[in-house]
């Protein structure tokens, strides 16, 4: 068992329209097809298909979330890459901003 587990995860959320998130986070919660998956730094490699739901990520103090419609996530010990599409409401809202 390795001792040098990374302390944070590099989270990248990529949609065909935009690079949505690219930052270091403490934890991510993803809507997998069979239920939510919590990912903390040092997770073992996992490829997962996502369903509809909310992606939540935890920074030092606060949490941020947005809803997505399906996609994929590649989880590595120090990195999480999410390919997804924003849900319709969310896309409208981010257009307004």
């Amino acid at each position: 068992m390795s001792i040098n587990l990374p302390l944070s995860l590099q989270l990248r959320v990529i949609t065909p329209r935009k690079l949505l998130v690219d930052r270091d986070v403490k934890a991510v919660f993803l809507p997998g097809l069979e239920g939510y998956i919590g990912v903390f730094p040092g997770h073992r490699p996992l490829l997962v298909a996502l369903g509809k739901g909310a992606i939540t990520y935890r920074l030092n103090q606060k949490e941020e979330k947005f809803s997505v419609e399906g996609g994929f996530a590649e989880i590595l010990p120090e990195k999480v890459i999410v390919f997804t599409k924003l849900s319709k409401n969310e896309a409208d809202r981010s257009n307004e901003r």
């Binding site: 990248r12 990529i14 949609t15 065909p16 329209r17 935009k18 690079l19 997998g32 097809l33 069979e34 998956i37 073992r44 490699p45 996992l46 490829l47 997962v48 298909a49 399906g70 994929f72 590649e74 989880i75 590595l76 890459i81 390919f83």
Partner: protein, 288 residues
């Protein structure tokens, strides 16, 4: 010697044309900015998705998906993306020439069917004997994501049910504002690039199984590739129109200055002539 009035008329009409081209240029610039933003913002996706796909494919090497299977190319489906409107330089004509020669070459060994996007492509291929599957004409700029998705579904079905053995997309890629790059991309079967990085990593878990993942991963890839080429093409179109209209405005400017020079020469010549006539008349009167 052309009459003054004709020259004046001509200058006026060139000026009007110049105003139009200038307005078109401004419009194209504004539209380009908008589309360029979507293209550039979509780039991270284009850089990472193939990589992701190749990693996934490396780990799922034994899994054979119908969209990955190569077959002998007996029937080919071509998708050609052009614009609806002209006045954008050689944007459409270059692309269509290239597409035509490419598919004529392919036609020697295989049956070709085409999907045409854009009025320019539709009128061009009326003269050529390729069977058409679908045409989108007259509302290219307003193609919705749903329609693009529908097109992707159609192509995917053709391929999975072995109605076609290869799908190519021909479009103008937005390389820079100065020059679009004509791209012929093979989107089906999906060719997965080699990935060395993946070999050094731990084998990942899959959730759910590799099969269902690939069932959504691959069609999504194709879908996105189609909408991506569509956006690239529209950015390239606006850039090409901007350049063409800029040139036209410049040319109009040159023409106006040439014509004004001629006009002034003629005007001065006629003034001199009139003066001369008056002088001679005065002289003649004085001698009496």
């Amino acid at each position: 010697m052309p009459a003054l009035i004709d020259l004046r008329k001509r200058i006026r009409s060139v000026k009007n044309t110049q105003q139009i081209t200038q307005a078109m240029k401004t419009v194209a610039t504004a539209k380009l900015k908008k589309v360029q933003r979507t293209v550039i913002e979509a780039r991270p996706y284009w850089h990472s998705y193939p990589n992701f796909l190749s990693e996934a494919a490396f780990w799922a090497a034994r899994y054979e998906h119908p969209l990955l299977m190569k077959r002998e190319e007996k029937r080919i489906e071509g998708v050609i993306i052009t614009s609806d409107k002209g006045l954008c330089g050689a944007f459409n004509s270059n692309l269509l020439e290239k597409a035509l020669s490419f598919f004529e070459e392919k036609a020697k060994q295989s049956d070709i069917r085409l999907v045409l996007i854009g009025k320019k492509a539709v009128t061009f291929f009326k003269k050529h004997p390729f069977p058409l599957d679908r045409t989108y004409s007259g509302k290219v700029e307003k193609l919705t994501p749903e329609e693009l998705k529908d097109l992707a579904q159609f192509l995917l079905q053709l391929y999975t049910f072995s109605k076609t053995d290869g799908v190519y997309v021909v479009y103008n890629e937005f390389k820079s504002i100065l020059s679009p790059r004509i791209t012929i991309a093979k989107i089906l079967p999906i060719e997965i690039p080699e990935n060395k990085e993946a070999q050094e990593r731990l084998t990942p878990d899959w959730e759910p199984e590799a099969g269902p993942i690939f069932n959504t991963l691959l069609p999504l890839y194709v879908e996105n590739q189609i909408s991506h080429s569509f956006f690239e093409s529209s950015a390239a179109e606006h850039a090409a129109r901007m350049m063409a209209m800029d040139n036209a405005t410049q040319n109009a400017e040159d023409l106006i200055s040439d014509l004004t020079l001629v006009l002034n020469k003629i005007r001065q010549a006629s003034i001199t002539k009139e003066l001369l006539e008056i002088m001679t008349a005065v002289e003649a009167l004085a001698k009496r």
